[in-house]
Amino acid sequence: MNDQTPHALQAGFAIAPELPDILPPVRERRGIRGFMWRHPTLSIGLVLLGLMLIAAIFAPWLGTVDPTALAPVKRTREPSAEFWFGSDAYGRDIYSRVLYGARVSLLVGFSVAILASLSGLAIGLVSGYVRRLDGIVMRAMDGVMSIPPILLAIALMALTRASVENVIMAITIAEFPRVARLVRGVVLSLREQPFVEAAIASGTSTPRIILAHILPNTVAPLSVQATYICGSAMIIESILSFIGAGTPPIIPSWGNIMADGRTLWQVKPYIIFFPAVFLSLTVLAVNLLGDGLRDALDPRMVKRQ
């Protein structure tokens, strides 16, 4: 893998190419409508994610009951007026579990995105700036990246007891090397730029250079990457919970609910269906957000406007 490969490639997306100038000039619209018109992907992503956040934060007031309350008498009921999404094998209300589960999945997604970004940023900055450390740090990152992320998360979870914190730590460890590589790539390419060389020559201290010149340029690719990490983390958490190595069964998370429902999917598919739809929509939202951000922040597209 080439160091110069845009890191976005490693996530599977390339910077969008220039579209030919055959489109008629678009009338600029103002305000929110205009924003949504110009950035459809970004808007859809934001709206969807917003809805999920509302569901998660306001779960207790959205018609839910205690998500862990057992009532085996009412087990495996189809969706009805009493159980909007049906009840699971122990009589728990799936609607409530899904809404509270949103908290776990979103918490894991956001936490991992933030933690991985911050740690990756720190390491990438150090590695990109301090030549002596660059070689060994990047080798270490390569090493960690050589272990398939899910296997790494699984192995780390095997060391500890199941808890949401440990899941966040395990997935963060699996994801941060990518961020480190990205940031390092940005730092390396920036260091060659004339304005940075000028700053160094004029005696600007290193921290100032980093703060004033380098950091601002990492924000764009970093935020795009962070959204992808968020989506990836949510899926990894669901896979971990599904195989029994993720969040403890006592705390409802979308992965857990699906794991519980897997034995009955032939007869009661709704147990897997509802959390699956919510998870997919949330990850979709985050992916669209990432795509939209990337398009919005792409210097080539910005230039066009």
């Binding site: 893998m1 080439n2 490969t5 490639l9 490693q10 599977g12 997306f13 390339a14 910077i15 969008a16 190419p17 220039e18 579209l19 030919p20 080798r139 270490a140 390569d142 090493g143 960690v144 050589s146 272990i147 398939p148 992320p149 899910i150 296997l151 790494l152 699984i154 192995a155 780390l156 979870m157 095997a158 060391l159 989506g231 899926i235 990894i236 669901s238 896979i239 599904f242 195989i243 029994g244 190595a245 699906m258 897997r262 999917w265 032939q266 598919p269 897997i272 699956a276 998870l279 997919s280 929509l281 990850v283 979709l284 992916n287 669209l288 795509d291």
Partner: protein, 313 residues
């Protein structure tokens, strides 16, 4: 050229060393005492201490790591804490199903995704393009096991076109082997196809807008010739990159897919091992998969040099 190959191969050694260190550390800091497990419930404290010394568990980290590394180099990955069987034997038993699944998925993904990406790029902006790309984004968002259950429900249970679960070794015939792998390969490959399609489209778009394509068009070459001869060849590098990176996706997804479709492969072994905290097995699998991943990326890098003579390090 040869020098580059040699240097590239040598570069994998420090990476593998770091992986090995990491994997070994896992066992070192793992809770639970293997000596206790081996000694059994009725052993006395002296017995346990004797076993610890016998196993060499009381020596310093560096010594144990060196010994373990030599052991691994000789091909001995230790014994499963749970069944007492050698880890290499357990892995060898499960290798064929997992490798079969990964190879079939890889081929399926490339065969399906590259044409999708090419067509999407060719008809950029049209409804076909938008449709494909929407499908691609959706592909990223749905977890592997959900796709798996959906496929199994529709094609195996309802329509009865394909078997629901299991694995048939290739020695029993090509079609039975393939039959069992089709649905799992599609489930596993879903994300992979989305990934490859998107990157193919993006790089093809990039390439198609380049000057030399305009020249080829001006020269009067047919569209097909342009697409395949020039564009694809130049787009090949990023595509191959993604294929290499995506192998990590495959390995991770195989764990879940094998669980859904009851394929007796390494994925199932991993899940059993992690539930039981069978560290030697977890170690062995992580090591092996990392090795495969590093190998694949090595091959990918070497293919670069064939595809794009401009790339030199």
């Amino acid at each position: 050229m040869l020098g580059y190959i040699v240097r590239r191969v040598l570069a994998t050694i420090p990476v593998m060393a770091i992986v090995a260190l990491f994997v070994f550390s896992l066992l070192y800091i793992a809770p639970g005492d293997p000596a206790v497990v081996i000694a059994g419930d009725q052993a006395s404290l002296e017995d346990i201490e004797r076993i610890r010394q016998g196993l060499g568990l009381d020596r310093p980290f560096v010594v144990r790591f060196a010994e373990w590394s030599l052991q691994v180099a000789r091909g001995d990955l230790g014994k499963s804490m749970f069944t007492g069987l050698p880890v290499t034997e357990l892995i060898a038993q499960r290798l064929e199903p997992t490798l079969s699944l990964m190879v079939v998925t890889l081929l399926l993904a490339i065969v399906v995704a590259v044409p999708i990406g090419v067509v999407a790029a060719w008809r950029a902006g049209g409804w076909l393009d938008r449709g494909f790309m929407a499908f691609a984004v959706a592909g990223f968002s749905v977890p592997v096991f959900v796709v798996g259950y959906l496929l199994a429900y529709v094609f195996a249970l309802e329509l009865d076109w394909l078997p629901v679960q299991g694995y048939t070794p290739i020695s029993r015939g090509l079609w039975p082997w393939l039959e069992n792998l089709i649905l799992p390969a599609i489930a596993l490959g879903f994300v992979y196809i989305a990934l490859i399609a998107r990157i193919t489209r993006a790089t093809m778009l990039e390439v198609l807008s380049q000057d030399y394509i305009r020249t080829a068009r001006a020269k009067g070459l047919g569209e097909n010739a342009i697409l395949f001869l020039h564009a694809l060849k130049n787009a090949a590098v990023p595509i191959v990159t993604v294929i290499g990176i995506g192998v990590a996706l495959l390995i991770g997804g195989a764990v879940v897919t094998e669980s859904v479709f009851a394929i007796p492969g390494l994925g199932r072994l991993t899940i059993d091992a992690i539930v039981r905290r069978d560290y030697p097995v977890i170690q062995g699998i992580v090591l092996m998969f990392s090795f495969i991943y590093v190998l694949v990326n090595l091959v990918v890098d070497l293919i670069y040099t064939v595809l794009d003579p401009r790339i030199r390090y």
